[in-house]
Amino acid sequence: MARHRRAENLEEDEPELSISPLIDICFLLLIYFLVTTTIKQKERDNSMALPSAAPSEAQPDIQPFFIKISQGGEIYANVGAAQELLDTEAQGTERTLPLLDQRLEIYAAAAKAGNNKPLVQVYVEAEAEQQVVSDVLNHLAKHKITTVTFTDLVAQDEQNK
């Protein structure tokens, strides 16, 4: 009788919670979420300062580089008689514009040599696609050019005044 009572007491003293089912469920949930998730691509920044919104009094020391984007997606450099066709289409999955890239490299290097901040003016025709504009801005970002003016903006603002 006495021995039996002691055994009962011991059992009551040590109530233990089994955590293995909890771990099982946790792993099950983890695997379920791993399988069902689709990883969303992170969006990235192409930050540009548009001086047209904050015009400065001082005249820039450097001649700005002029780029024109036509509605067909062709990219031209310079204005007037000096205007020349650079790229007609972005190439490859990386969407490179090799001719514009060369020009910008030379321009950026010249600006750096003269201790000036490179300035770029972009004229975009109304029907041009945003992807082409983005391609040009992408190449500007490559050469660390962050000051861009959309020339038509200035022209229209002036007309409104």
């Binding site: 192409n46 930050s47 540009m48 300062a49 992807q131 992408n138 490559k142």
Partner: protein
């Protein structure tokens, strides 16, 4: 000299040395709650109907402060509204509406001591004339820094 009885009791105690985990769990939860309450969670929403263009030299989005999100939809989704807010539901009726919105958001960020920037999510297929309207509205509201949102690559 301990008696045999005492020695037996001591031995039993040695066997049962267990670390009590509950105060540690309490502390971990307390710290977790503290950090959750303290953190300022800023999420820049992404409407997947806007397929932003690809740009390889774009930068990682580090600072999410000061962003004023405007979505510009392509012709495919522009039926309900060409310009919309971050959630993709609220529509800007006209350019004045856009200017008012950007102005108000700019004031909010100014109060927090942050520089307001236009977070422009324009679809790659959209015509630049619409993008220009948003940029012009931002300029009218006094925001001159524009972030053209892009992707590094598009998965086929």
């Amino acid at each position: 000299m301990a008696s045999t009885k005492l020695r037996a009791v001591q031995q039993e105690q040695d066997d049962d040395t267990k670390v009590d985990m509950s105060p540690m769990i309490d502390m971990v939860f307390l710290l977790l709650i503290f950090f959750i309450v303290n953190a300022t969670l800023i999420i820049v929403e992404m409407d997947k109907r806007v397929q932003v263009p690809i740009a390889r030299y774009s930068e990682k989005q580090n600072d999410k402060m000061g962003r004023i999100v405007v979505n510009v939809y392509s012709d495919e989704h522009a039926g309900e509204g060409r310009f919309r807010r971050a959630d993709g539901k609220e529509i800007f009726v006209d350019d004045e509406d856009l200017v008012d919105f950007i102005k108000k958001e700019k004031e909010k960020w100014d109060l927090k001591g942050q520089t307001a920037r236009l977070h422009l999510r324009a679809d790659g297929k959209v015509h630049f004339t619409y993008v220009r309207r948003v940029i012009r509205a931002a300029a009218a509201a006094g925001v001159n820094e524009v972030i053209f949102v892009s992707l590094w690559s598009r998965k086929s």
